[in-house]
Symmetry: C2
Subunit: 261 residues, 2 copies
């Protein structure tokens, strides 16, 4: 199956080379700018195209569209002409499969790897769960065989658009908000001229624990043990940072609410 | 050096056996209740005492006091008599060294391992940073040699009480609040009947990234890329959960504020 990537962002930068290594024929990378199209195409060893999305190859059998969520409907519409029979798959957690039919394209699919991607790190797809959905039943096997090049069958799931939205929202809380809590920690450590890296063993242990205990049972800290002394003192330390003080209060209350359920 | 543990909670349950394995003479574990004193003493292979804290051994050279923060001043006061020359060390992140002198005990110390402890998991102390402080300069080497039984010299730090408070607050954000974000995620996945464990590769990658990039640079997600469409949709999904909706809004705003700094 000949595949073209539409978009050269963080997800495509991880996925396209991984598919290539797994023996899949990635024939082209398109991006809005020449620089990013050529950068990823060079890593994959394939053709690059850029500018209007209509300029992408018409020869691919499958287009993996990994662009900004807001741009997606427009991109599908422009890509459709001349590629009416190709399989289009987007990679977004929160966008429905119905986007494709709404934009006039019949063979739509979702190929959603539940992971956080950076250009600086190569993700190990062997540990990634994939959530797949297709407009046509017969295309599901195609998508599945693609995912099987990268990960184990147990980590490949069929998922409706409704389920995928909850998955994405849960991932935002766990990973995006979890990472942001570390950004705040980094900022607070600067107050004491301490390097953030002293917290790494703590974060390693937090996640190791999650492999063993449900997060609610793994919860520790002043809020979980209802240590009002420490909580009062910590709130007072944030007097000059009302934004962080509000976060502290809200998150502590939330910990205690869940604890009562 | 003969050591007694005052308290048999999560921290003591990890620290006492680790010290014993490292060749330190842990002679007794005291706890308020007989059951928990005996449980930990059995694991360490030492004497157990319980009830009033005055009933703890008077023969130890060092007492590691690991009790609830609120109970600490009272415990020091009651322990002091008959143990005037012993070294007392507490293990709390947010309590000052001055507690000991305030309670009438001269040789005070803080032995703070920056880690999250559960009774269900044995922590690897070789990866833990220790923050130490002593009332008397000559006791610092004693404390340091104790920490050196467990971890590498590069992970042993002198820290004032003021610095330690910031360390603890940062750890609350990174680890306690980070873990709570996973509790919320677990709850949201229940809406879609999905097992929390599908998020584990994501959490593994989030933390692996922190070893490589500062958290602010590792930030991904709808708030970081200012995807108002997805954010609006995700807020709407939380309409029935105003507590989580408020958290979502506050954390997303905070991500965007840090991004502008």
């Amino acid at each position: 199956m000949r595949i073209a990537f539409i978009g050269a962002g963080r997800l495509a930068t991880n996925l396209a080379p991984a598919l290539k290594v797994a023996g899949v024929q990635v024939m082209e990378v398109w991006s809005k700018t020449q620089a990013s199209a050529e950068a990823l195409a060079a890593r994959v060893g394939c053709n690059a195209s850029w500018g209007q999305v209509e300029r992408a190859t018409q020869d691919a059998e499958m287009y993996i569209i990994s662009v900004k969520d807001t741009a997606l409907p427009e991109v599908i519409r422009h890509l459709h002409e001349g590629r009416e029979n190709a399989l289009f798959a987007h990679t977004a957690g929160s966008l429905p499969l119905s986007l494709f039919r709404d934009a006039g394209h019949e063979r739509g699919a979702v190929f959603y790897p539940l992971q956080t991607f950076s250009k600086e790190r190569a993700v190990d797809f062997g540990a990634v769960h994939f959530f797949l959905e297709t407009s046509r039943e017969e295309d599901f096997e195609l998508l599945k065989s693609l995912a099987e090049r990268l990960t184990t069958p147990a980590q490949i799931h069929h998922s409706t658009s409704a389920t995928r939205r909850w998955l994405h929202l849960a991932a935002v809380f766990a990973c995006n908000f979890g990472n942001h809590c570390c950004t705040v920690a980094d900022d607070l450590l600067a107050e004491a001229s301490v390097d953030f890296r002293v917290l790494l063993p703590l974060m390693d242990e937090m996640v190791a624990k999650l492999h063993q205990l449900p997060p609610r049972e793994a919860q520790t800290g002043p809020a979980a043990r209802r240590d009002e002394n420490v909580m009062g003192m910590q709130r007072a330390m944030l007097t000059d940072r009302p934004d962080l003080q509000q976060l502290y209060t809200l998150l502590s209350n939330s910990i205690q609410q869940y604890d009562q359920l």
